[in-house]
Amino acid sequence: MMKYYKLILILPFLGLLVSCSDDFLDRPPQSNIIPEEYLWEESELAAYSIEQYSLFPSHGQWSFGTFGIDAHTDNMAAMWSDDKYVPGQWKVPQSGGSWSFDNIYNINYFLNTVVPRWENNEISGNQSGIEHSIGEMYFFRGWEYFNKVQALGDFPIVKTILRDDEPELTDASERNPRSEVVRFIISDLDSAATLMSNTSPDGNKNRLARSSALLVKSRVALYEATWLKNFKNTAFVPNGPGWPGKEKDYNQNFQYEAGSIDAEIDWLLGQAMEAAMEVADAFPLTPNNGVLQQSISDQDNPYFNMFSDIDMSGYDEVLLWRDYDQGMGITHNVPVYAQLGNDGIGLTKGLVESFLMENGLPIYAANSGYEGDDYISDVRKNRDGRLWLFLKEPGQKNILYESDLGDHGTAIEPIPDITNSSAEQGYSTGYTIRKGLNYDEAQTGNGQGSTGSIIFRGTEAYLNYIEACYEKNGSLDGKAGQYWRDIRNRANVNPDYQATIAATNMQIEAQGDWGAYSAGQIIDPFLYNIRRERRNELMAEGLREMDLKRWRSMDQLIAEPYHIEGFKIWGPMQEWYENENLVYDSGSANVSSPNRSSYLRPYEKTGNELVYDGYSWAMAHYLQPIAMQHFLITSQNNDVNTSPIYQNPGWPTAANQGAE
């Protein structure tokens, strides 16, 4: 019986252990923040908005950074050609592509959450700091939508967080005509310009300010105005003949907000001018003293250094730049590539020849003083100060300040290694740029570069104003003329642009510059010289493809393919390679044949190249295709015609097929 007494004592004890309240199983996360607790304070807003800066293109590892974005245009050529110039090779993808909304979701989450709190004065912190972050987010929504318009044209406008409900999402997938999207972008950029401070709150121009919003606004408005103008009466503009948006009920009643496409263009140009002027007037050009530094005793040239300085905050015309730091591991490899072959991205003969002479004349003009292109040194002589400054020439010094901290420098610019097919060592065209080069050897550790990366600079506003003004009025107003002269003066080119226009032969220009055309037609010399200025000033700054598309400057390639050429290899410069065994007219050729051209044709060596017969084009390539999966997932019974999404002009609604 003893046992049972003990048992009775034990049982309640067991019962105590067994009785388990639900509290024991309530275990919310202890080391995370829940959404309801966040975005109530200025610094939290800033943490969110600064994270969006990754949307900007900037320098990165193992590429030539923003200086290499223009590869695959008529300005620059990489080691390998791009399939977009081979109709049929660019195909409708199965999934993915630019039809994506992740960034938009991210931004809308912020605006949907923060704006009501801000309107109710519920967010703590400095009011201008709060407004600045909100302004930044409006800016980024505009920025992201601008990317979408460039890639795809018509695109759904989403301002809220959508529910994960298939019918609702399918309905929301309706594409807004591009003009509506652009109006939406401009409205977001206006909000951004209103909310953001006049100067970057960090004081170093590492964050956006009102001026950046206005610059982008002028870029967007000019983009859309010239697009509408050049593509008018095609399927590429809303209500144009064959515009695929018309197939869908929801776009039947589309009207331009300004009433007509011409009124819309006019309105856009006005917006572009107004925004550009405010920026241009506030940001003087960084001076160019005409010095190409080749020894420590040479004077610094701010215009040169602006593109490769460690700290860019002191340059007048820089609106926004990205800062890097070796110690924090935020680095890039642009300085190393700048020391040698620009990561295999060379300047084309077309770009080099488009630069004027110092005296403002085109190189072919009588008495221009052009010394020819037998040697790279000749090409530079008496030319536009920008070409003279930025075109690299063998024998020039690339390092002035020696350091043990870098081992990938190239102290003296060598003879371009055109037979080396490694992008790291090779030269694709023989012409390379000095823009982005830093003379400090400490920047030449492999992958250890910490020079800044310019996101926006004020000169673009000058150029936007000039072009918008001419497109709007057919002539330049006083302000535009002054801006242009400012740019030419800074470039050490005769500021008399009328003399240049008078000496311009469009037939010759058209051989090397796609921008000489719009819609397959050669344009007038006045407009051409505005485009030439833009091409030269913004060389290797990543805007060329955008410009070529809005100008509709590739139509002529359809009939007559364009041959990318570099320097004059089959002139006296061939002697540079006497020991190199130049091979041509063979399957293992390392240079192009003299029978094809005296100039190096990087994509016409072995005969196996897809663009051996030159860059061609298809109209559809002005916009990207939408991937197949997006149609299927918004369709009934996999019948893509039931999808609210329509394909872009010229692209099939079938995966892995090229444009018509």
């Binding site: 046992k3 199983l25 999934s95 070796q326 110690g327 299927l632 996999n638």
Partner: protein
């Protein structure tokens, strides 16, 4: 099965030897020699190989060819135990006799064998669930790192995969194939060590007494929601009443890597890459001058492996641009031999009231890395004490400590394997011409000088069990288990130095820092349960159990990192400067978090059998977990199983001499799986980061945050149902036994990858319980064990299993081939059919012209000799992938399935006159594999920097009769190209990854007992063992069939290039005192 019989043996022996031992010693008594003959009861013929043991000792003898034995006993009251497999064990008191003759009769009741099941043991004959048990022999003399590796292939349906061979790689384990494809949930089996959740990889294998694998839900369900995909029950050795018994064993091992890829020589490599460049329309990468240098270096006419940098003559040139060495980086980085050793000691004994078991184990294992060691040390100690306090109360306590030390070069990480061949071009020099290690870049310098990564993991298991027996047949158990795990990890990155042309060092890798992290896990588990067994009318046997279980796991970690190692020889946080190599102050990075989860469950079990003929068991469990919200938290899980032992039927008696057991059993059960990878799957959290932004503002890294994803708060349990039918049979005195199981397991309401929605949603679709899976297969085992009359004993064990899985519900409305589709098997490989490699341009042109609607344009352009011709399966005049959906797959079809089918093993064992031999083969009978990585293709679609040049790639198409490597029209590989048009998944390059491998072979010799007992040793065995000795497979020589799925991910699938497995030869001894 054989292993189960050994358990029987062990069990009988234990009972027999120890049961009546009073602990008295007979030392003072007279020594006595007993002789005799053992014969068979049936035919009266002499019987060799019968074990004769003196009860209460390990001393014994074995009968010779004529059945004779002779044994020294310590006194007249000793008891002799005669035993032989399948026959009744006899105990005969000596009582002063000098001659004892014995006749052995077949054992009809031998199936008293027991297996360990949930919260107890059960007679095997009464088992109704799918349970397999293996014993300590599995873990004997295996020269591998951990118990999981020793279990590989041993148990049907227990799939253990070691997909990489480094000292820190742990095998992955599942029971019965694909368990869950739930995104965010895992389906590993629950591992219980003496009733407490533990780590199979971190236990002293020599402590293991037995391992039970509970495979179906009915067997596992008593453990509830953590056991949804089976349980591995490890029972460790405990003290035994009797004189102290000491065991010591050791092993000394030498390991060498197997199936390491061989790289091309430098000239072949350069030619191969040049061909790939030229084929793709680019210029050759290696120019004539460099090719000459490469050739001259190979010929020995020049000795300099690289030239000075033409642009910077003080320094050596970049290896890719100018190197002309000839290095096989695998040879350079892996050692040929590495040494390891293991020592194990144990002591067990005890009195009636208290028994004890004490053990210690030390493993010192070296890895295969050259230049800077990777090494692993494990120390374990165990103390177990079982005390009977009164006749109704006993107390069992155990304490187990495990420490693992692991060290490796900091730069020996996943990236190293990914890059070894693709970045380790053979032309890169290992040493510069002055003889200094030169990174140009290449990995050796960083491995040697770039710092160490060291970690120490401690596990402390403390367990106490109180057993109260208020009445006969009624027991109450209280188990209190506590585990702490403490991990510390340190790594340092140090500056490395290359040397310039004059031999002066200069900094190559500038950054240096020290990182420290610590992790602690406190795990507390209570099991309280009670059992009652009763028998009615001698025929109706009942068992009841009722219990409660709870678990609480608390986890925290801390880490800190600071830049600037001041003294490379002592890299600790205190001696870092906080300043980077540019002299800038960098804020140290720190982190720390707390996490926890808990479960609770009530369980009950009812067993019933009628005369051990009709068997029945039912379980019911009610489980809750902290991972779901309170309204979705609790769930009931039932299971039922039943069996019919036909051999116990009266009508069976006539043949029951030959067939002792013939049992049919079946089970059904349901469980929930709460093993979500995220411990808080229903909570939305804000992704925030501290000072981790990449966009510097004011020169500092900003804080970051992003939008939270969508989360479904209605997430709840995944449900697992399993059906199992089984057959157990045992014939010829248990010499032949076999077991068969067929199972079907439904995993339903899996936390599925989100249903595809229009991407305008802008974020990942929240997971939901929306996916069902069915897995089915079988396990069959066959065991034969016999001892011939001449004493030669031998055994064969064969195990074969299979599982396949089919998706039965999945949110993929378009049937896209990118993800799972309903009514499809898991592991399908979609691809094209290869027609062949075009031998000439004309042949290709002719073929393309036969495809009127676009040829092969969808896959690429510029088709020529040496390219693949794909078959137009759908006869639409073009080769493409259609809409990439199942309904419109274009010219693709299912060309194979990468599920490892029919894993099997065979163990052959034999012993004779003290010699023993055991060979363990293991393999997979059928497995397709599509390896589309750069390691398979050589010249790869991602371009030159993602391409490799291995020996196998030399067999590529070369049309040119004057080619430097010779013409090769009948090649395996197409012409090399840095694009993917020839690299579509296709039949020609489908790999057959089936294999058979001699996993372990051991030969031992046990000295005769008469000899060893003179020096006070009851058993002394020497052995020689080998691991991974022989492999047969049709797989490409680049890969190992076990690690083909290892390595870093390349474009969504692993590249198969991982740390190699090793072939290990070991020798050592086991000694019992």
């Amino acid at each position: 099965m054989r292993t189960c019989m050994l358990i029987l043996f062990g069990w009988l022996a234990c009972n027999g030897i120890y049961a009546n031992d009073t602990g008295n010693s007979n030392d003072s008594s007279l020594q006595l020699t007993v002789k005799g003959q053992v014969v068979s009861e049936i035919d009266k013929l002499p019987w060799a190989g019968v074990t004769v043991l003196i009860k209460g000792t390990n001393n014994g003898a074995v009968t010779d060819f004529d059945g004779n034995y002779e044994i020294e006993v310590s006194g007249p009251d000793a008891i002799l135990v005669f035993s032989y497999v399948g026959y009744k064990t006899q105990e005969i008191p000596v009582m002063g006799q000098n001659i004892i003759n014995v006749s052995l009769e077949e054992d009809q009741g031998f199936l008293d064998e027991v297996v360990v099941v949930g919260f107890g043991t059960q007679k095997k004959i009464n088992l109704t669930g799918a349970v397999t048990m293996v014993d300590a022999e599995t873990f004997e003399s295996r020269p591998v790192q951990n118990a999981a590796q020793m279990l590989q292939g041993v148990v049907g349906g227990l799939n253990i995969t070691q997909s990489a061979g480094s000292l820190e790689d742990r095998p992955s384990i599942n029971i019965r194939g694909v368990t869950t494809i739930g995104s965010g949930s895992t389906g590993s089996p629950l591992v219980l060590i003496d009733g407490m959740q533990g780590d199979l990889n971190a236990i002293n294998p020599q402590d293991i007494e037995s391992v039970s694998v509970l495979k179906d839900v009915a067997a596992a369900s008593i453990y509830g929601s953590r056991a949804a995909f089976g349980v591995i029950l490890i029972t460790t050795k405990t003290g035994k009443t009797g004189a102290p018994s000491v065991t010591y064993s050791n092993s000394f091992r030498s390991a060498s890597p197997i199936n390491v890829p061989n790289m091309m020589d430098s000239y072949t490599f350069a030619t191969f890459f040049n061909d790939a460049n030229v084929n793709g329309g680019n210029s050759p990468f290696f120019n004539e001058a460099r090719l000459n240098r490469i050739r001259d270096y190979q010929d020995g006419t020049i000795t300099e492996s690289i030239i000075a940098n033409p642009n910077n003559p003080d320094r050596w040139a970049d290896g890719y641009g100018e190197g002309n060495a000839n290095v096989d980086w695998y040879d350079a980085l892996y050692r040929d031999q590495s040494f390891s050793q293991e020592h194990n000691f144990s002591l067990r004994g005890g009195s009636d009231a208290i028994t004890y078991y004490v053990s210690g184990n030390y493993l010192d294992q070296d890895g295969l890395m050259q230049f800077n060691r990777d090494e692993f040390n494990r120390y374990t100690t165990t103390v177990k004490i079982n005390a009977t306090i009164t006749d109704w109360l006993s107390l069992n306590v155990s304490n187990r400590f495990i420490r693992e030390d692991f060290g490796r070069p900091s730069q020996l990480s996943g990236g190293l394997y990914q890059n070894l061949a693709r970045q380790g071009w053979p032309v890169l020099p290992l040493y510069d011409p002055n003889g200094n290690l030169y990174s140009s870049p290449s990995p050796a310098l960083g491995i040697r000088d770039g710092g160490r990564d060291k970690s120490q993991k401690d596990w402390l298991y403390q367990q106490a069990q109180v057993v109260i027996t208020p009445l006969d047949g009624w027991e109450i158990f209280g188990e209190f288990n506590y585990r702490t795990r403490n991990d510390f990890r340190h790594w340092d990155t140090l500056q490395t130095f290359n040397h310039d042309v004059d031999g002066n060092p200069y900094v190559y890798n500038r950054g240096s820092h020290v990182h420290e992290e610590a992790f602690r896990e406190n795990y507390f588990n209570t099991n309280i349960y009670t059992k009652y067994n009763m028998t009615l009318n001698e025929d109706h046997n009942f068992g009841f159990m009722l219990g409660f279980q709870s678990e609480l796991n608390k986890y925290r970690n801390l880490s800190a990192q600071r830049e600037g190692v001041m003294v490379p020889s002592s890299p600790v946080l205190n001696t870092t400067s906080g300043v980077d190599s540019n002299g800038e102050i960098v804020a140290p990075s720190v982190s720390g978090e707390y996490q926890n989860w808990a479960t609770a469950g009530y369980f009950s079990r009812l067993n019933y059998n009628y005369k051990e003929r009709y068997l029945f068991e039912a379980n019911l469990r009610y489980d809750g977990t902290s991972r779901f919200r309170s309204d979705k938290r609790w769930q009931w899980f039932p299971s039922l199983s039943a069996g019919w032992n036909i051999a116990k039927e009266p009508f069976w008696e006539s043949i029951s001499n030959d067939i002792h057991m013939l049992k049919i059993r079946g089970s059904w059960g349901e469980l929930g799986n709460q093993n979500t990878s995220n411990w808080y799957p229903t909570y939305v959290t804000m992704p925030v980061g501290t000072a981790n932004g990449n966009w510097l503002v004011n020169g500092t890294r900003p804080n970051t945050s992003n939008a939270p994803g969508l989360v479904s708060q209605s997430l709840t349990w995944e449900r697992v149902q399993s059906w199992d039918v089984g057959l157990d049979i045992s014939v010829f005195g248990n010499r032949l036994s076999s077991s068969f199981d067929y199972f079907t397991r439904y995993t339903s309401d899996m936390v599925g990858p989100a249903p595809e929605l229009p991407v305008i949603l802008g974020t990942d679709v929240p997971n939901a319980n929306n996916t069902d899976l069915k897995t089915y297969g079988f396990e069959v085992s066959l065991s034969w064990k016999d001892r011939l009359k001449n004493g030669f004993g031998y055994g064969i064990d064969i195990m074969l299993s299979d599982s396949q899985s089919e998706i039965t519900r999945y949110p993929n409305p378009t049937n896209s081939l990118d993800t799972y589709r309903e009514n499809n098997k898991i592991g399908q490989i979609w691809g094209y059919e290869t027609k062949g490699i075009a031998q000439s341009d004309a042949q290709m042109e002719e073929y393309l012209s036969s495809l009127a609607n676009g040829g092969q344009n969808a896959l690429g352009s510029q088709w020529a000799a040496g390219d693949i011709m794909y078959t137009d399966l759908n006869n639409d005049g073009k080769i493409d992938s259609g809409s990439w959906t199942q309904d419109d797959p274009g010219d693709r079809r299912v060309i194979g399935n990468n599920t490892a089918r029919f894993p099997f093993s065979a163990t052959l064992s034999a012993d004779w006159k003290g010699f023993d031999m055991r060979a363990f083969f293991q393999g997979v009978m059928k497995r397709d594999y599509y390896q589309g990585s750069s390691y398979f293709w050589g010249a790869y679609s991602w371009g030159m920097w993602w391409s490799t040049g291995l020996k196998e790639h030399e067999d590529y198409f070369r049309a040119d009769a004057d080619h430097a490597l010779g013409q090769n029209l009948d090649s395996y590989y197409p012409r090399p190209l840095f694009n993917g048009k020839n690299q579509q998944a296709q039949t020609r390059y489908l790999q057959d990854a089936s294999y058979v491998r001699l996993k372990n072979l051991q030969i031992g010799y046990t000295l005769p007992i008469e000899f060893t007992e003179k020096i006070g040793i009851s058993k002394l065995r020497f052995y020689l063992a080998g691991e991974n000795l022989w492999t047969s497979t049709n797989l490409s020589g680049i890969f190992d069939p076990e690690t083909i799925g290892g390595g870093t991910n390349e474009g969504g699938s692993p590249n198969g290039n991982a740390y190699p497995l090793s072939r290990t030869i070991s020798t050592g001894l086991n000694v019992n005192f």
